[in-house]
Point group: C2
Chain length 329, copies 2
């Protein structure tokens, strides 16, 4: 037996289909008694509105897509969780898309989904600005871990956080640090680099940069070797995964952390607390990033036309100090 439709319900309830429709979509526009009657009949029949038929007409799908640069990066766990919770709270479905660090995959997937979703939350998008603007022209977009004027975004307060990192390292007497940059097209990588550099200038440290590196543990070896060559006494890796990979390689090469070199990461993933030594890292309320991003998106997809306002939210970070940083010995 196929799913019952409003026709079945209408027939069984002895009313018109439009009344059934109204009972579900704007309950207050129908007599309380008939409404209840319809509901009970509908329940008996096991009727449930077909979202596609609804979407066909309204153009709204009650679905948002979240695109992440690499789904296996633990950093995204909390982001996804926060976004999912927020979406569900408004009875929205969250479609998860993995861009696998590939702008092409990212763009294709987004275009594929444009007709099916009400908006996009883009995590650390690797797409060029023009693409983002274009996508925003098709559907509301909220960026995470990236800022772009005229588009709403949610980021962690990296600039201040980077300053904190440099201060922390300076307090141990470090005078030369190196930033292991993330992917070329990562806005975060660019921003962190300039934040570190200016903090370095301010505090009188030399700051180098090498890379780009794919921010995975497996790429840590190359990054570590490069870092050693710079002669820096402190390494700031683009994220925790890379930092962990770096520490592994350093251990292999008998470089002691933090006695010979200090290591700092970003994200404060679960594993940062488990590796040895524990990784000093810049953390933040990641779940909130996801939550707020969806929040803004739902606002934009809401009945009120997207207002000119494009909120750019920056959430606070916190430097989690563990054992991977210290004075040279």
């Amino acid at each position: 037996m196929p799913r019952p439709t409003i026709y079945d319900v209408a027939a069984a309830a002895g009313v018109a289909t439009s009344t059934v429709s109204r009972a579900f979509s704007s309950p207050n526009r129908v007599n309380a008694r008939t409404r209840e009657h319809i509901f009970s009949i509908a329940a008996d029949l096991g009727y449930r509105p077909n979202p596609h038929a609804r979407a066909l007409l309204s153009g709204r799908h009650h679905t948002v897509a979240m695109v992440v640069s690499d789904i296996t990066n633990p950093h995204y766990f909390e982001l996804i969780r926060g976004a999912e919770l927020r979406a569900r709270a408004s009875e929205y479905t969250l479609v998860l898309v993995n861009a696998e660090e590939s702008p092409r995959v990212e763009y294709d997937q987004i275009q594929r989904l444009v007709p099916s979703v009400d908006g996009f939350v883009l995590g650390a998008s690797r797409l060029p600005d023009e693409n983002l603007v274009q996508i925003a022209g098709q559907r509301p977009v909220v960026l995470m871990s990236r800022e772009l004027s005229r588009l709403p975004s949610v980021v962690l307060e990296h600039t201040q956080g980077c300053h904190q990192i440099v201060e922390h390292l300076a307090s141990f007497g470090h005078q030369h640090l190196v930033y292991l940059a993330g992917p070329r097209n990562s806005w975060m990588a660019t921003t962190r680099w300039s934040a570190l550099k200016s903090a370095g200038e301010e505090l009188g440290l030399r700051v180098d940069r090498i890379g780009p590196f794919t921010p995975k543990a497996s790429h840590g070896a190359a990054a570590a070797d490069g870092a050693i060559r710079t002669g820096a006494t402190a390494i700031v890796a683009h994220n925790d995964l890379l930092a962990i990979g770096v520490m592994r390689r350093l251990a292999q090469r008998s470089v002691r952390v933090p006695q010979d070199v200090s290591v700092v990461g970003f994200d404060n993933i679960f594993a940062a607390d488990l590796c040895t030594p524990g990784l000093t890292t810049l953390g933040g309320a990641h779940a909130d990033v996801g939550r707020v991003a969806v929040d803004i998106l739902l606002q934009a997809t809401g009945p009120l036309q997207p207002s000119g306002a494009s909120p750019q939210v920056a959430l606070p970070t916190e430097l989690v100090v563990r054992e991977s940083t210290g004075a040279r010995a």
Copy 2:
């Protein structure tokens, strides 16, 4: 300007809408010349088929849902990734749902999605058998990390794996081990317990069980304390997260691993290699679990009616031995 429809394309191309439709849905049923003409016009107009209108008629949405018991469990990373890749390869969209260890949330979410997806992949479902059977009556279902007669499933070869664990521990002279059980309604928990027990009987070890425990690191303290009380010399935790939490607690209580007690986990998550001591754990090709599950699902949602066959796939496991297991000292 609204999205162009087949009407716009048809008008611009000087053909009927059905021809446009055919050009896109069954290209070989239309003259090559007209087809190319239609395509080029469509491209100019930026036409893209509306999947909802399509779904409304065909009932197929090119979308599958994957439900996981807890999205923040790293164990799922690879599963999700494998599933996502496989889905995308067939141009299917993967909707990710987080059940948050709650059967109620899980069931509600599934019911919400029934009208919008072609099938479900259920990871470590916490639902009772009857519910699963009922859902399978609404849409094709493939289980992961759970078996149920008449439903297709993909699991890791836990039974043999558990045997391997017990053998490994026995080889170190352990004679008493305790299993820290996962959630009450976890099929895996039940299966592992009976597998461990029968392996214990066979090899002459005493095997206790305590729990259930929520398989997160934060619940490790209670689990560790309970384990100590049993007097067992080896602890087999329901998963790596719990095992890591247990090891933390043991360290706090100055119980040495593995000198005083050995610890084993399941899943071989990234962090298992990072904690100190490294965690011995039962791993497997998790990405394959997700991949194969979607593979089976797409077969079932395919044009050919769901055949009676319900493949029950069991993928091999491998015991990854690290430093958390050894002889007592």
